[in-house]
Symmetry: C2
């Protein structure tokens, strides 16, 4: 039986001084250094919470009086249980910090460092490895050629998936220690043995277990993790987290090539504030309404302004999700709210463009073509959603999926606004949307021999 | 471990003469009597297929030369495996028909009669009971006061869930035999024993097993089943199947009170034809386009005709699903196709009504209000679908859900058409839709403390 996330405790070490981050630790101790809107410690805890972990033991030592109140806040705000473990001997090595947790733990537990950023899903594999209850599991990274700070990395020698040696000084090694463990109670005895030999480090304790063939290695594969030890490392970690904001399978071509590059910058600035993703959703919506208003004003200038504002609303529309992912604030409500408001925004901008055209070319056809465009936009999205509901999978990708994406539609309107032809471009996009719906209905219908 | 539907064989008895259905069996043998578009035998097989059963053994005897070709057709059309078992001794009792299957079966099997109509899901419980591999399970009905043809029912005495006696003549009884069994191989020995005693019926064999405490009863609960033995029974079964077409949790108020009563009649007529549900979807869509066209023609008469056609399209829109359910033709594609076309139909009728108003009251506001109404209709549906996708459940019901249903919207337009005010009524419905969307967003947002 697998270990369930809600049953396991994650031990997070936050007792050290982080001497190599000196410049940054003047203001706050290392675990409280802010990174994209969250402290390092907060990010570690929320990454664990993301996979369902609810119980934490956080070991503090150096500057504990600053860290403990922060932990109290986290506990309250995120509805998790945090056991604060004080380690007066923290200077004797991080092994003493693990030992200090012994009274609070029974059975296997996760062990991680407060200064590591990582993809939460790496913890699933680690928890699943807890079935074999006599060995510790260590997540290792075999990409030894890609290590940011190779000199400082803790090296690991392997024989198959058995760990045969661990240490910074290893000459020959197969992987590096990521600092993510699934530990058994045996670790406490091993740490004591190492301590008696004068080694107070966690690696020292692990080395004792290795001698009994009790440590297996789990490959982290291509997943992201990073150990922040220096100011340069902090900058690098930030870049990595921002780079990971695009949604490869989902982002349209304009998102990928243009919008994400700009929304990232806005997000980078916004995460440091208290603004919530849902508030950004509202702001993006209001920006869409502003674009709509601008389009209703006659004159070329307002066509340009309307187009620019439309494109800007499209860029800001990416920020809510980015902030939510960076700060672990994603919610079903947020996703629903954002999508519904996007459709309202589509309708508002389209109606404004129709009205604009109508004031200069007063023909009934303007309205009819306009309604054709509006219905194309909304129904293209509707058709995809309904497909997902019925088939319990995404609609098959391809050209149809690409031409009906919002980022492309808004970019087209932006270009249309620039050349004073927003209506023509919009109607064209609407026709393309209808054609795409017709194509996808008929192609899937043929596939399913629709006569039934 | 449960028995998996794709592993089990369903034995269907279709060898008897059905003497009490004489008038109807002049043209075709009893298993081939048509009922709402399917023969009785076909309906039995498809009901089993609905829960995942793919292997069948059908016992034929009386008029087998007519039944066998029909089985070949079914096998080919529905991609199932049908073993035809011929029983030359069918006149000696239905037990001989079961015995004839012995060479083709190993392990537990389902046993049912070709002249029973039933809710497919009753088979799940029966298959789950197959875990205890030494007993037969018999589905019984304790609603003894509601039996259609009580005289002819096979009666069952129970002690807890053990069957203690079975037979038509029982004076005291607790339930009636529904004719649905999960049987073990032991049944064949029991049938032989009964046969030696001169009893060739299935009940005779079951009685032998009862003496060894090897038959347990499973309650069919409130599920529907019916044994067709007489012309009156056939009419009754038809009524029951038609009555079960409404979707209690889903149908709107107009569907419930008006549309279903009419669509049932159309469905009753259409199921006998070769028309597929998807074709009805198309017809309903074209009817909507006709309604749209009628609304564009000036004059009160065309307002009435447009309204009537709209309401008729709404009624016919129920038929595709009804036919699909009656003939086991439901498909994900059909549901998707129907929903997308419904939205196109909504847009077409609404646009026509706007155009109608515009020709008599040429004000820009007509178009703006019209777009407001169209977007309200489409986005109300969109908001619900998107909620289902994100929350993986239906949007909470209540007034909001009720006022945005299509049956009500089209009924309102119908009434509007009758009084020559389709536009006013439509705009009102559109406003109500937007209010409903706003209300549901804000109430669920509050519930989820949306600031996050």
């Amino acid at each position: 039986v697998n270990i369930q996330p809600h049953e396991i405790t994650a031990v997070i070490l936050a007792a050290g001084s982080g001497s190599r981050l000196q410049g940054l630790t003047a203001k706050s101790p290392k675990p409280l250094i802010p990174l994209l809107g969250l402290t390092l410690l907060q990010r570690s805890i929320l990454s664990c919470r993301e996979v369902g972990i609810r119980n934490f033991a956080v070991v503090v030592g150096h500057r504990k009086t600053e860290i403990i109140p922060h932990l109290r806040q986290i506990q309250e705000r995120y509805h998790i249980s945090v056991q604060v473990v004080e380690n007066p001997n923290w200077e004797r090595g991080n092994g003493t910090s693990v030992s200090a947790c012994a009274p609070y733990l029974s059975g296997p537990f996760l062990l991680l460092m407060s200064d590591h950023v990582f993809e939460p899903k790496i913890l699933y594999g680690l928890m699943a490895s807890g079935e074999e209850s006599t060995t510790c599991s260590l997540l290792v990274d075999r990409r030894t050629d890609q290590i940011f700070d190779e000199e400082e990395a803790t090296r690991v020698s392997l024989n198959g998936n058995m760990v045969t040696a661990i240490g910074k000084g290893l000459k020959r090694y197969d992987a590096v220690d990521t600092g993510f463990f699934l530990c058994q109670q045996e670790l406490f005895d091993a740490l004591e043995t190492a301590m008696r030999k004068g080694d107070g480090t966690l690696s020292g304790g692990i080395q004792q277990l290795i001698q009994d063939n009790k440590v297996i290695a789990l490959d982290i594969g291509n997943h992201f993790w990073f150990d922040i030890d220096t100011p340069e490392g902090l900058v690098h970690a930030k870049q990595c987290l921002l780079d990971r904001l695009s949604k490869p399978g989902e982002d349209g071509i304009i998102s990928r090539l243009l919008n994400r590059a700009l929304s990232r910058r806005i997000t980078e600035w916004l995460v440091a504030t208290n603004v919530s993703p849902n508030q950004i959703t509202l702001v993006s919506f209001l920006m869409g309404l502003l674009a709509a208003f601008l389009f209703t004003v006659p004159g070329y200038l307002y066509s340009v302004l309307g187009g620019l504002t439309t494109q800007f609303a499209s860029i800001v529309d990416g920020c809510d999700g980015e902030i939510a992912r960076l700060k672990f604030q994603s919610s079903r409500f947020g996703a629903w709210f954002d999508t519904v408001l996007d459709r309202y925004c589509d309708v508002a901008i389209a109606t404004a463009i129709i009205y604009r055209e109508w004031t200069t070319h007063p023909s009934t056809n303007v309205w009819l073509l306009g309604i054709l465009a509006i219905s194309g936009f909304v129904l293209a999205s509707y058709t995809k959603k309904e497909f997902s509901l019925r088939y319990e999978e995404k609609i098959p990708g391809g050209i149809v999926e690409k031409v009906t994406k919002r980022d492309l539609r808004f970019f087209a309107i932006f270009v249309g606004g620039m050349v004073n032809k927003p209506f023509e471009v919009m109607v064209l996009m609407g026709l393309i949307s209808h054609a795409a719906i017709g194509w996808v209905l008929s192609s899937i219908g043929r596939r399913e021999k629709w006569r039934g």
